[in-house]
């Protein structure tokens, strides 16, 4: 935790307006306020440059707990208020923080909680799988729901319309032309120029939050590893961290180092895939072939050393389910040496290529102001000057033992997002070597302790896409009462609507790939 004192000053400032009750959690300060001060808090927070990071609700008996998470300089505030279920409403924070917009709409759809003054209270997660005025995350909603034979399509969603001579609409999806996840994009265009883009997601909503209720820690970890398949290590780690906090379990040092190695390997695999795919979207196939080759080699090592190509189910509550032998460490280190050499060769060929320069520079521009307003995370934020990385700012084991160099760019275009990824690969390679050197003999998994009823934990890790926040509350008998994972995509998706403006429609795929949001992690 950062040693800054802004939170104490802020608390003093707040107490002039709002009554705040303070409670400590290991990774955050928990502040209780009255529901009518919900928006006022946001107004004061934005003046202090606090970043809005996550929002979710829980039902406890006949009350709702509304939570919002804020961050500044690596220090997190978990803000909470309680409202009665007879008239569940409170003032919206989305009027102050655009980042809170979709999150509040999600809470509205899932719990039936009304955010007064919300700038856009159309439904978001709900299509037609359940009817209006039914709320899946309320305890009286059965997990199987009341489905009809064939769920009707979501025909009447009120999209924003454009009028005027020469403007036209292009609907795209949910089934896309490539091997990608489903979602709908509605473009308004004049000629080839994009005037407006509206995203309509929620197609891969699988009820993850609901079906985790009543699971035990091991089973929850497994599901958390499938919130977004490309971030299996990140989400699994965040969920396990939250559960371990609630249970008061400390993971062994060796397990922490192995988790670090797994997370950095996941980061590298995804970044390599993305760099290749970005180049492929502007028809530069050489890069795609080279990077998919390097990625495949990397995944094969994952399978040899850790037993799974994508590293699923390697992190378990209390530690890890895999070990590293001395031979494996040597193998990994050798591979890193070779990869560094190959990356240098390939990236130099990319850097000197004028056709890539033509397509990637200045395209898909995201300004620092917009990136900050939406709380944009990870490589998308860092390519637009958002200097935030949980590994450095709020370090957790094993990152508390090392120095994490955070790659930062400020041109905000597709090229910046590509270069941030490349620099992050280089940093991650060094981190893996560092973690291997620090490996100490010892246990892989701490003994599990059943957490007390109602105990909670907040896991915050830097996944490959950016900060992941995961909140977990336990019920009786080691059972989960509430699981909420906030994937970085939730905050990055709205930035896509902005960064494509004034680009041409044919550049949409490369703009989209440069952001690469998870649909599954967003829709849950």
């Amino acid at each position: 935790m950062s040693s800054s004192t802004w939170s104490a000053d802020f608390l003093t400032r707040l107490s002039m307006d709002i009554t705040v009750a303070e409670i400590g959690l290991p990774t955050a300060n928990l502040w209780h306020i009255e529901s009518r001060a919900w928006q006022r808090f946001a107004e004061l927070a934005v003046q202090q440059n606090l970043r809005w990071a996550a929002g979710w609700a829980e039902q406890v008996d006949n009350r709702f707990l509304i939570n919002a998470c804020f961050e500044k300089q690596g220090e997190y505030i978990l803000l909470r208020t309680v409202i009665d279920d007879s008239n569940p409403e409170l003032p919206s924070q989305a009027t102050v923080y655009p980042a809170a917009n979709r999150s509040e709409r999600h809470t509205q759809d899932m719990f039936g909680i009304k955010f007064i003054g919300h700038p856009d209270n159309r439904r978001w997660t709900r299509h037609q799988a359940w009817i209006e005025n039914h709320y899946p995350l309320r305890k009286d909603f059965p997990v199987h729901g009341t489905p009809v034979g064939i769920t009707p399509p979501d025909m009447h969603y009120p999209f924003i319309k454009s009028h005027g001579a020469g403007t036209y609409e292009i609907p795209v999806g949910p089934v896309h032309a490539g091997i990608i996840e489903p979602g709908h994009f509605r473009f308004q265009a004049v000629g080839e120029l994009i005037l407006n883009l509206e995203e309509r997601l929620g197609y891969v909503h699988k009820g993850i939050e609901k079906i985790t209720e009543g699971r035990e820690p091991d089973s929850l970890a497994k599901l958390a590893g499938r919130v977004s398949g490309d971030t299996t290590v990140g989400h699994c780690w965040a969920a396990c961290m939250a559960m371990e906090q609630a249970a008061g379990v400390v993971i062994p040092p060796r397990a922490a180092l192995i988790r670090g190695i797994l997370a950095e390997r996941e980061r590298i695999a995804n970044h390599m895939g993305d760099i290749g795919a970005i180049c492929n979207d502007v028809a530069f196939v050489f890069a795609q072939m080279q990077f998919t080759r390097l990625r495949e080699l990397w995944l094969r090592t994952n399978a040899t050393v850790f037993g799974h190509r994508l590293l699923m189910d390697r992190i378990v509550p209390g530690g890890v389910a895999c070990d590293l032998s001395d031979e494996s460490c040597t193998l990994i280190k050798k591979e890193i040496v070779v990869l560094r050499k190959e990356l240098t060769e390939v990236i130099l060929a990319l850097d000197l290529n004028s056709s890539l320069e033509d397509r990637l520079y200045t395209a898909g521009f995201l300004s620092e102001q917009v990136a900050a307003a939406f709380g944009t995370l990870g490589y998308v934020g860092r390519a637009s000057g958002q200097d935030m990385d949980v590994r450095r700012d709020a370090p957790y084991a094993p990152y508390d033992q090392v120095t994490v160099k955070v790659a930062l760019e400020n041109q905000g275009d597709i090229a910046s997002r590509l270069w941030v990824r490349y620099k992050e690969i280089r940093t991650a390679l060094r981190l893996i070597e560092d973690f291997i050197d620090r490996l100490v003999a010892g246990e892989l998994r701490a003994e599990w302790k059943t957490p007390s009823t109602g105990s909670e934990g907040l896991g915050i890790v830097e996944g490959w896409r950016g900060e992941i926040i995961c909140h977990i509350r336990f019920d009786t008998d080691n059972k989960i009462a509430r699981f909420y994972p906030r994937d970085p995509s939730q905050l990055n998706w709205p930035a896509l609507e902005k960064l494509v403006l004034n680009n041409i429609v044919p550049d949409f795929p490369v703009c989209n790939k440069s952001l690469n949001g998870s649909y599954s992690g967003n829709d849950l």
Partner: protein, 171 residues
């Protein structure tokens, strides 16, 4: 430009030899091929991939089929952009209720004769997600399935064997 040529030449051909799998091998992998396939497709299949609710893990491995090691296109298997061009729908994920109609419409848009391949544990049996208010579970709960390739996610090798197994049976 010279750098590119140099890298291509020094990389060489990394594509691996691959034998069309025998029935036994498919059985070992848990790959189930339910129906004999129409002769018309032997030699080449056009695939439309449909993510009906997957976590994106399966997509990553399907992507890998096109990398230089597997290069599945050399066997006449290629991915197309529209169901109207497709012989095969390669479906992943438990079918989310929000995707149910989209999947049915994609199925209808695919010309006959057509096959459906369910790839991954979720598509095969519902996986971690199962049936709920938001999920229809296995693909076979929504459209008829001809081939099931289990795995979470299935490795590119398992996917390749499943797809080629389909073609060899047709010959």
């Amino acid at each position: 430009m010279l750098r590119i040529f140099k890298k291509i030449l020094t990389t060489g051909v990394v594509t691996e030899r691959f034998k069309t799998p025998e029935d036994e091998e498919l059985e070992q992998l848990g790959i189930e091929i339910k129906r004999h396939v129409d002769k018309k497709f032997s030699g080449s299949i056009a695939i439309r991939q449909v993510d009906a609710g997957s976590c994106n893990g399966c997509e990553l491995e399907i992507h890998a089929l096109n990398n230089p090691f597997y290069d599945i296109e050399r066997f006449g298997v290629h991915f197309v952009a529209s169901p109207r061009h497709a012989d095969v729908l390669l479906v992943t994920g438990p079918v989310s209720r929000h995707m149910q109609t989209a999947l049915l419409r994609t199925y209808e848009a695919t010309p006959n004769p057509k096959w459906v391949v369910a790839a991954g544990d979720c598509a095969t049996c519902g996986g971690e997600f199962g049936v709920s208010y938001a999920s229809c579970g296995a693909v076979s709960n929504v459209i008829p399935v001809d081939v099931s390739i289990p795995g979470c996610p299935p490795t590119p090798l398992a996917l390749m064997k499943g797809l080629l197994g389909l073609m060899s049976i047709s010959a």
